[in-house]
């Protein structure tokens, strides 16, 4: 029963002890990193296995007054992404990071603790606290390279993200004022008697606050800068976990606290779908103009967030399944792209499109992995991105949003244009380039692992879908979630 608590505690404790061990010996430091990573993986698998039917963990036996953690299928899916990306990133960064390596690993552990807390908690204020823990370590991780750009982009990120946090905190306080409780299930019951206008205002604050953290289009300005300036292993976590945990929290709040009837009544579902379409069209257009590969992938991340938003805001079963599956897939695909790019940067200092010319012949297997992930993210069969995109399109047609389904196809072509640009450059012959440093196996292995998952989840989608298929049961019908949380 305690394993879910340890999912939050273990990375925090590890980070604390890593800080002490760093002073004494490197050997102790790295052995603790590895040991704690393996135990963490074991704990995650234990909790994911145990996620259906959902379990409530009440800390300290305080019942509803205390802090409750809840593991349902949506959080289990997110724990799966944490498991996949955390392991790969830690192994990759052991050799990749040159500047401030110890600090990078410690901060990554703190960030994972925050994200795991956001995913598991069933308490509104805890959600805010864990959100701040993960964002605070993100600011530091963005600035960790100590270049002019990284510090500047970190400050920009900090200001915009803080702006979002204010609105989230304000909405949390107002919710407490109206309902007198912070437990999500009790809030949901109390909210039934709150007037429509007040509820809509609180919902607007939540959406605006989380919208900044997610990077929906008018609020996205910090994101490409932070991608350009931060170390690449952090980019993997940022696109795979930090943005996604914010959208996770938003969806959890909207569907559990407000309930799907209120969402339909207030018309926010229509706005969400429209916002998603706007987001990916603009982001794709901007991505096409970039010459820096990190920025290009950053804009592509924003675009994928658009697809996910459409899926999750459609308000039907298929949309939720497709959107959640796309969260998982995007983490894996973008992770692969960033890691390959990381190896190029490690061995050649290449991060502009011009720099990677001809590398397809120098690193044949790596480049093939890049092409696989790029085609997956565009949404071509038989890779994983195709299946989740297809589910979202089907759901959009089912819900009557024909324009959304049409624009997803348009967006696919737009993304194909700029990814083809990169792939063609990769396979254009040029004069020999000399390697600065040869990438070794600890860099390549995580990359190939993620790349092979792209193909595996594309050919056997039932593997993750058996977990994801249970998600709508507790989101579309919040009374089920409430019953379990109150009964626990």
């Amino acid at each position: 029963m305690e394993s879910a608590v340890w999912i939050i505690l273990l990375p925090l404790l590890t980070a604390f002890f890593l800080g002490i061990f760093k002073l004494y010996s490197d050997k102790l430091f790295y052995s603790l990193v590895i040991v704690s990573m393996v135990i963490y993986l074991y704990l995650l698998i234990l909790v994911i296995n145990d996620s259906y039917p959902p379990k409530v963990y009440s800390i300290g036996n305080w019942g509803l007054l205390g802090i409750n953690l809840m593991v349902d299928s949506f959080s289990a899916m997110f724990l799966l992404i944490i498991a996949i990306l955390f392991i790969t990133v830690i192994i990759f960064s052991l050799n990749y990071i040159k500047v401030n390596k110890h600090k990078f690993i410690i901060l990554t552990y703190v960030m994972i603790a925050g994200i795991a807390g956001m995913v598991l908690t069933a308490d509104l204020f805890n959600l805010y606290v864990f959100l701040e823990v993960s964002s605070m370590s993100s600011y530091a991780l963005t600035a960790i390279k100590k270049t002019d750009k990284s510090i500047e982009s970190s400050f920009k990120y900090l200001i915009m993200s803080t702006f979002g946090s204010f609105f989230i905190l304000l909405a949390t306080i107002l919710t407490y004022y109206l309902t007198g409780t912070l437990n999500m299930a009790e809030i949901s019951l109390e909210f039934k008697s709150v007037p429509f206008m007040i509820k809509s205002t609180i919902m607007f604050f939540f959406i605006f606050g989380y919208g900044i953290k997610i990077g929906l289009v008018p609020l996205h300005a910090w994101m490409p800068d932070s991608y350009e300036a931060s170390p690449i292993p952090y980019n993997v976590l940022s696109s795979g976990l930090v943005m996604k945990s914010a959208i996770y929290a938003l969806i959890r709040l909207l569907y559990v606290i407000f309930g799907v009837e209120f969402l339909t009544e207030s018309g926010i579902l229509n706005i969400g779908v429209f916002w998603g379409v706007l987001t990916f069209i603009i982001a794709h257009t901007l991505a096409y103009q970039q010459s820096n590969l990190n920025r290009l992938l950053g804009y592509s991340s924003i675009a994928q967030i658009g697809y996910i938003t459409i899926g999750l805001f459609l308000g039907n079963e298929k949309g939720l399944i497709g959107g959640s599956f796309h969260i998982l897939n995007h983490g894996i695909m973008k992770g692969t792209l960033f890691l390959v790019l990381g190896i190029f940067y490690y061995s050649l200092k290449a991060d502009e499109i011009e720099d990677i010319q001809g590398l397809g012949y120098k690193f044949p297997v790596l480049s093939f992995t890049f092409v696989v992930a790029a085609l997956a993210i565009v949404g071509l069969p038989p890779f994983n991105g195709f299946i989740s995109k297809w589910l979202i399109i089907e759901a959009a047609i089912e819900a009557g949003f024909f324009y959304a389904a049409f624009f997803i196809l348009v967006g696919t072509f737009l993304s194909l244009t700029y990814y083809l640009k990169v792939i063609i450059k990769l396979y254009t012959k040029t004069e020999k380039k000399t390697l600065i440093e040869k990438p070794d196996l600890s860099l390549k292995l995580p990359t190939f692992f993620l790349g092979s998952l792209c193909i595996l989840f594309g050919i056997v989608p039932s593997l993750p879908l058996s977990l994801i298929n249970n998600i709508p049961k507790f989101l579309l019908n919040n009374s089920e979630y409430i019953r379990i949380l109150l009964g626990g």
Binding site: M136, A143, K146, L158, T162, F166, L170, I173, Y177, L182
Partner: protein
Amino acid sequence: MELPYVVVIILFYLGIYTIIMNKNLIKIVVGVNIVESSLILLLILISFKLGGTAPILDRKYELVVDPIPQALALTAIVIGGSLIAVMLALVIKIYKRYGTLNVDEIRKLRG
């Protein structure tokens, strides 16, 4: 009873205005601080009862204030404090590199 809420609203918008309109990094940090304080004030206000005492489990005290917002306020203060610390650290770094605190002069990145 209405006046404190008006103060909170004024402080909140003042802070937001400061963050958006100012060009000076230190003033932006001050703006963040003002918004943070207004939210903490709001937390304390919603738990306030005239004549209430500390929440001690005793029959003698009938009228007690709600303890939860006060605990939340403490947490919010801690988060706000660490946020300001990170922010000021970054401002110091920026000032050492660029020699200025004006936002317009330190643009290497394009939106």
